[in-house]
Amino acid sequence: MSKVYLALQDNDDSRYIVEAIIEDNPEATVIHQPAMIRIESTGELFVRRASVEEKIGRDWDMQELHLSLITLGGNVDEDEDRLHLSWNV
């Protein structure tokens, strides 16, 4: 199975988003690079709104992810509650 990934700007919102991702995807690896954070995982990765809201302590719209997102790899499926990244093989 190939690796999916996403990279976020290293900013205050991303701190909570990354915390939420790690909790929801225990398999994921977090790599810190200058000014950015890369999160990769084998096969698939979820970003869940409820988990981010829990960490960030306020309402959080899934599309707010675009404010911090730098890049991603994998097939994307997004609705109000989660973003799902996956490769089929």
């Binding site: 990934y5 000014a35 950015m36 899934m62 675009h66 997102l69 730098i70 890049t71 991603l72 499926d77």
Partner: protein, 512 residues
């Protein structure tokens, strides 16, 4: 009573598909005249998916927020003399190359998406192209604003649009986009949305912008990442386009494969410039070009092509050549610029001893064997007061327009030459990839505006190189060009930083 809020999928449907209309008195084919001539078959536009389901109202909301954050940083950067915090003034030359070579491509992308967005009869594709078109316009504007601060303090930023249209090495990026924009609408999407955005732009915006941060350039890092946040959406669009075309009709598969082959190779040639920026122009290194290629193409692109195999799509043609080129290409490109440094609107230099050691460490199989000896020789010549500038104008590859300085990858001591005959004329290429592209569409590429040919034909004014550079390219000779050592940029930097005047400076350097 407040109306129930639509969920994301319904809202997307209402604000994209539901804005479309049927044609009852006009002929749909006449309304969309470019949709069929490439041979792509679309049976059902409603199958077009936008996975982010972004609608115009959310688009404005989030883009406005990004913009506010970005301009707050530009203000802070400028108010705090951010240019003084970059690692050293050599770094700024990477930004000059970015402004003259890359930012105008953002404008070309804006024009390209505005054009093709009009040409698709599917509403989903039209809305996606409209948003991307606005994104690209935003990118060129934010880049100009970010870099305008540097223009107050450094040479080489003053005439970037004029230079983009004329200067020999800038014809490499310019002709890349001209080629894409003069293709049909589906080829444009496969070229730019998929092959460029999905497969290759990560290499430009991610490690390079992280490198900008690592070199104290807050403004560039921020516009880069802010643009890249749109890029994540563009990449996703690129992948959806490919899947859509492949699922619509099996006859589309060979056409899509042919375009992927062409644009992957065109893109790798364009990125030779980025490889050189990463390995040679960033004083603080983040990763080598080879490492970036491995992470962002071999690993990420490998996963992508494995996923597309179910449609019958295979890795792009000549991908095995790129696996060898990653060891060589950045070194060969910087050498071309170093030896033509009198004709470039940015400064070039010999890497410091520390940087040479870093390159030896990152390229253990090739650097000491093939490239370090060249730099040692260049150092000796410079010490004798004979800094080398080539007197000749280079032969250019008809396809990628890069000077023919790349080697055979199995024998890096031998320059690669390929040629094709067409209509009684001979055309020259730097590689099998560029020759193959020409051979597929010779009628198109014989029209290439090759800067060196144009100079020799007398179309660029001037009886000699100096006049072409000064009068036709509008370079400020002795300021924009030549080695960093002894440049006004270096002198000013040393004054600002309180360094000894004249230290590291070759006072007798002749400035073309």
């Amino acid at each position: 009573m407040v109306a129930k809020k639509l969920n994301l999928k319904d809202k997307y449907r209402a604000l994209t598909r539901d804005l479309d209309w049927d044609y009852d008195y006009a002929d749909r084919k006449k309304a969309f005249p470019y949709e069929e001539f490439e041979g792509i078959k679309i049976t059902d536009w409603s199958k077009w998916e936008d996975p982010f389901r972004l609608t115009m109202d959310s688009y404005w909301k989030y883009q406005a927020e990004k913009e506010k954050k970005l301009y707050a940083i530009f203000d802070a950067f400028s108010q705090n003399n951010g240019h003084l915090n970059v690692t050293d003034a050599r770094y700024v030359n990477a930004i000059k190359l970015f402004l003259t070579g890359v930012s105008p491509l953002e404008y070309q992308a804006f024009q390209g998406y505005a054009h093709v967005g009009r040409q698709f009869s599917g509403a989903g594709a039209r809305v996606a192209c409209q948003m991307q078109s606005i994104d690209e316009l935003r990118h060129v504007q934010t880049q100009i604003h970010a870099m305008s601060h540097y223009n107050k303090f450094f040479d080489g930023f003053q005439d970037w649009t004029h230079m983009h249209d004329r200067v020999w090495y800038l014809s490499v990026p310019k002709s890349f986009f001209d080629d894409a924009r003069s293709a049909g609408p589906f080829e444009f999407l496969v070229a730019i949305s998929f092959s460029f955005e999905y497969v290759l732009t990560n290499l430009l915006f991610v490690p390079f912008m992280s490198g900008a941060a690592h070199n104290g350039d807050m403004a560039t890092c921020t516009f880069g990442f802010s643009a890249q946040s749109d890029e994540a959406r563009h990449m996703t669009l690129g992948l959806e386009i490919i899947k859509f075309l492949l699922e619509q009709h099996e006859d589309n598969v060979p056409l899509v494969q042919k375009w992927i082959d062409k644009w992957f190779w065109r893109g790798t040639r364009l990125l030779a410039l980025v490889g050189m920026m990463m390995d040679y122009m960033l004083p603080n290194k983040v990763m080598s070009w080879k490492e970036a290629w491995e992470v962002y193409f071999e690993e990420a692109g490998g996963a992508l092509f494995k996923d597309l195999a179910r449609y019958g799509i295979v890795m792009p043609k000549f991908v095995e050549t790129t696996a060898k080129e990653k060891e060589h290409i950045s070194h060969q490109a910087w050498w071309i610029f170093y030896t033509h440094g009198h004709a470039a609107a940015f400064h070039t230099w010999i890497p410091s001893d520390e940087e040479l050691d870093w390159l030896s460490e990152k390229y253990p199989d090739t650097f000491d064997k093939y490239y370090r000896p060249r730099w040692e020789l260049a150092k000796e010549m410079e010490a004798r007061g004979e800094r080398f500038y080539t007197k000749a104008l280079p032969q250019l590859c008809t396809t990628c327009q890069i000077p023919m300085g790349f080697t055979e990858m199995d024998d890096p001591t031998q320059i690669a030459y390929r040629s094709s005959d067409f209509d009684g004329e001979k055309y020259h290429f730097c590689s099998d990839g560029c020759k193959h592209i020409f051979d597929q569409e010779p009628e198109k590429y014989v029209q290439s505006w090759l800067p060196v040919h144009q100079i020799y034909q007398g179309n660029c004014g001037g009886a000699n190189v100096e006049e072409v550079l000064r009068d036709y390219y509008k370079m400020n000779l002795g300021e924009d060009n030549m080695d960093f050592k002894g440049s006004p940029d270096e002198q000013r930097w040393n004054e600002w930083k309180g360094k000894d005047k004249g230290k590291d400076t070759d006072k007798d350097q002749d400035v073309a």
